[in-house]
């Protein structure tokens, strides 16, 4: 299979004419950059169709584009506040109808749960909900502490898994009851220390943190 390589002239294994050029032809230069982004085309595109129906469909399309923006299905991202209040904004506000889907046709988890107002005294219901979710993690933490004390490695793993499994299942059951607002509050609670002190009661005083140590020469006593 090595053939005559090195001896005499190189021979191609196929008919070179078939490729399109013969031996000794000047080949085009090697291209060292990617092809242009908008190459010139030899043939320009055919003009668009015009006619009554085409114009009507065009008008329909543009109207539809405007109409969908006013529909209640169009969810707008909240815009940043503009610096100057424009006079004409008053006349360009679009009042959108509220759309309520047919809940019977949707999965149960789609229904938004009633949000409790933030800062209000927690009702009993909320208390039990939060209580169960808090006690869940508190339970797990307590159990981990207990098991660490026991020093029983294998058993703790099993129990951990069980509690994890039950926690997951619990969480799934509570999925329907949990709600975005509740989750936020839950996170807040998590971050606070688990003690009896209510954060707002403690007043640090106005001077706390205001006086920074500009000159580190003096030592603080």
């Amino acid at each position: 299979m090595a053939g005559n390589r090195g001896r005499g002239r190189a021979a191609y294994t196929f008919n070179i004419e078939a490729v399109g050029f013969s031996r000794g032809d000047k080949l085009p230069d090697v291209v060292l950059k990617p092809p242009p982004l908008f190459p010139d085309t030899d043939y320009k595109p055919v003009p668009l169709k015009t006619g009554e129906s085409e114009e009507y469909i065009l008008a329909l399309k543009q109207e539809l584009r405007e109409t969908v923006k006013r529909m209640p299905y169009f969810m707008e991202t909240p815009e940043e506040k503009q610096d100057i209040e424009r006079y004409s904004k008053r006349y360009m506000k679009v009042y959108k109808e509220e759309w309520i889907p047919d809940w019977r046709r949707l999965p149960r988890e789609m229904m938004p749960r009633k949000k409790c107002k933030k800062g209000s005294k927690p009702t009993k219901m909320k208390d039990t909900d939060k209580g169960t979710s808090l006690t869940n993690t508190a339970d797990v933490l307590k159990k981990i502490e207990e098991l660490e004390k026991k020093g029983d490695g294998e058993k703790s793993d099993e129990e951990n898994e069980e509690t994890e499994g039950s926690k997951e299942k619990n969480k799934e059951d509570e999925d329907d009851e949990d709600d975005a607002a509740e989750q936020e509050e839950y996170d807040e609670e998590e971050q606070e220390e688990e003690n009896d002190y209510i954060n707002s009661y403690f007043d640090n005083g106005d001077d706390f943190g205001v006086d920074s140590d500009d000159n580190m020469d003096e030592a603080t006593y």
Binding site: F14, N15, Y43, M75, Y91
Partner: protein, 533 residues
């Protein structure tokens, strides 16, 4: 789903429903079936917003849900349905040509809202029609209902699946999601409603700031009345519209190839098989020449003999749109739907090659199409084009994937000198390639249009504000000179700029509509071919 399709879906969702829904929709297309929590976590949006977005998408039939084991509900996006949003103007225009303004508005409302009850549609359409009528006249509900019934009878609108009524005998908790079922027979069954009423005209005084509380009040009153057809929702039947477009394409192809009379005959045959033949069948039901003669439109004075001659001519045509399947009843004729779609797709490919590479390339392309497989030497000979140019053109088309190479080795070691290289055109793969390019082009067109609009946003805002000011001044009564002063706030070069912008946007929009027509042809062909495999 290809990247091009995903990009196009993303642009369409953004235009129709906003950024949040777009993010959720694109995430679902990319990842497949997902439960609610995973979507919220992966897209980093709040649960509340994800729920709202999913409600919107489900309402518009763009996302479906399924209950899996352990009670987890998973959501799946329907990418092909999302691409149909491009075609909404065409559907609405078709309804207008068939059922006038009433039909147009009914279909428009159904498309904009996804699904609606019949009473809601009738009420809304009557109100809208009353707005456009002269003072004092109102639109009656019965006329709108009649049009609705006609649309249902011809299958242009269909019922959505209904919530299956489960017996609550056992004290099990209700399922996490309802199962939706629909009986074939009930799909076009219109409930017996007696909708009596007239459209209400909205008075112009309602349009100012007091509009908002009034809308709320009106809704409150509405919700107290019981809706007679509660739970029965209707949606637009897009397949039926596609069938109509396909029929239109076939009829116009026949008209272009032969003459008006033959196209009328084909149109009659298609109309007769509209409801009897399912849309994906390769042939229509055989129709006898006598039946066709009886069903021809009344104004046509074509004698039986002439009709027979036309049918024979159509059946002998090499394009094979019409085929003869028997001799009873004066000759049984069918329309070869699959062959017709294949011819249309092939014609599209040929036209694209011609416009992109020139007529000589098109000659080579048609040659290879006709002869199925050709060697390079044979191409040069048959096409009567010099060797160098023929080679150049073949390679150009090969690099763009219109033509493919088939290797036939003579020896088991596939040595190039002892292998036949044959050029061939596989219509299916070329059609797929072209379809992909069409998706990319529409995405580019939409992007460019959005770019143009954003570039001139300041100018557009200014002109809108001035229009709003003029409108409010006219309402409060103002002098002509004041109005003129305000109009002059837009300078002449700015007007010029606005004109240019408008022209460009129109051109881009019209291009989108035309590319969509090509997409429809190619998609129908590919679908029809895949069903036969």
């Amino acid at each position: 789903m290809t990247q091009a399709e995903i990009k196009l879906c993303s642009l369409l969702l953004q235009e129709h429903f906003g950024e949040i829904v777009e993010k959720i929709g694109v995430h679902l297309i990319r990842t497949g079936c997902q439960p609610l929590r995973v979507i919220a976590h992966d897209t980093e949006t709040s649960l509340d917003q994800v729920k709202k977005a999913l409600c919107v998408l489900i309402q518009h039939n763009l996302v479906i849900y399924q209950v899996h084991k352990r009670g987890v509900v998973e959501y799946e996006a329907q990418c092909s349905r999302m691409l149909r949003m491009l075609r909404y103007p065409r559907y609405i225009y078709t309804a207008k040509t068939l059922y006038n303004d009433t039909g147009e508005l009914i279909v428009e409302e159904l498309l904009l809202n996804g699904k609606m009850t019949m009473s809601a549609v009738v009420k809304k359409v009557a109100d809208r029609l009353t707005e456009t009528m002269e003072d004092g006249k109102t639109m009656d509900y019965t006329e709108v209902s009649n049009t609705f019934v006609r649309l249902a009878d011809t299958h242009f609108v269909q019922r959505c699946p209904i919530v299956s009524a489960t017996e609550t005998a056992e004290p099990t908790p209700p399922p996490p999601a309802p199962t939706l079922v629909i009986n074939e027979k009930d799909m076009y069954l219109v409930p017996k409603l007696s909708l009596i009423g007239k459209g209400k005209r909205r008075r112009s005084s309602d349009e100012d700031a007091a509009g908002e509380p009034k809308a709320k009040r009106a809704k409150h009153i509405e919700s107290k009345e019981p809706i007679p057809d509660d739970g029965i929702y209707w949606q637009a039947n897009l397949d039926r519209f596609h069938q109509h477009f396909r029929d239109q394409a076939i009829v116009s192809a026949v008209a272009n190839r032969m003459d008006q009379t033959s196209s009328e005959i084909v149109r009659t045959m298609l109309r007769m098989s509209e409801i009897t033949t399912p849309s994906c069948a390769p042939f229509t039901h055989p129709l006898s020449s006598n039946e066709i003669f009886r069903s021809l439109p009344v104004g046509y004075n074509v004698s039986k003999q002439v009709l027979d001659q036309y049918l024979t001519l159509l059946a002998d045509d090499p394009l094979e749109f019409v085929g003869k399947s028997g001799d009873s009843g004066g000759g049984m004729y069918v329309i070869n739907l699959h062959k017709a779609l294949a011819s249309l797709a092939t014609a599209t490919l040929e036209s694209v090659v011609q416009e992109r590479f020139g007529s000589r390339c098109a000659r080579i392309f048609r040659l290879v199409l006709q002869k199925k497989h050709l060697e390079q030497k044979q191409v040069e000979d048959f096409a009567m084009i010099p060797a160098k140019e023929a080679k150049d053109m073949l390679y150009k088309m090969l690099s763009e994937n219109f033509i493919s190479l088939q290797e036939i080795p003579k020896t088991p070691d596939h040595a190039p000198s002892r292998t036949f290289y044959l050029y061939t055109v596989t219509v299916l793969s070329a059609a797929r390639m072209l379809l992909h390019r069409c998706y990319k082009s529409i995405a580019n067109l939409i992007e460019r249009r959005q770019f143009e609009t954003k570039e001139n946003k300041r100018l557009l805002d200014k002109s809108q504000r001035i229009e709003a000011i003029i409108a409010s001044m006219q309402a409060t009564g103002a002098e002509e000179t004041q109005l003129q002063e305000i109009e002059e706030m837009i300078t002449a070069p700015e007007r010029q700029q606005l004109e240019t912008l408008k022209r460009n946007v129109n051109k881009l929009d019209a291009s989108e509509i035309q590319v969509d027509e090509t997409i429809f042809l190619l998609e129908s062909y590919i679908e029809s071919t895949m069903k036969r495999l």
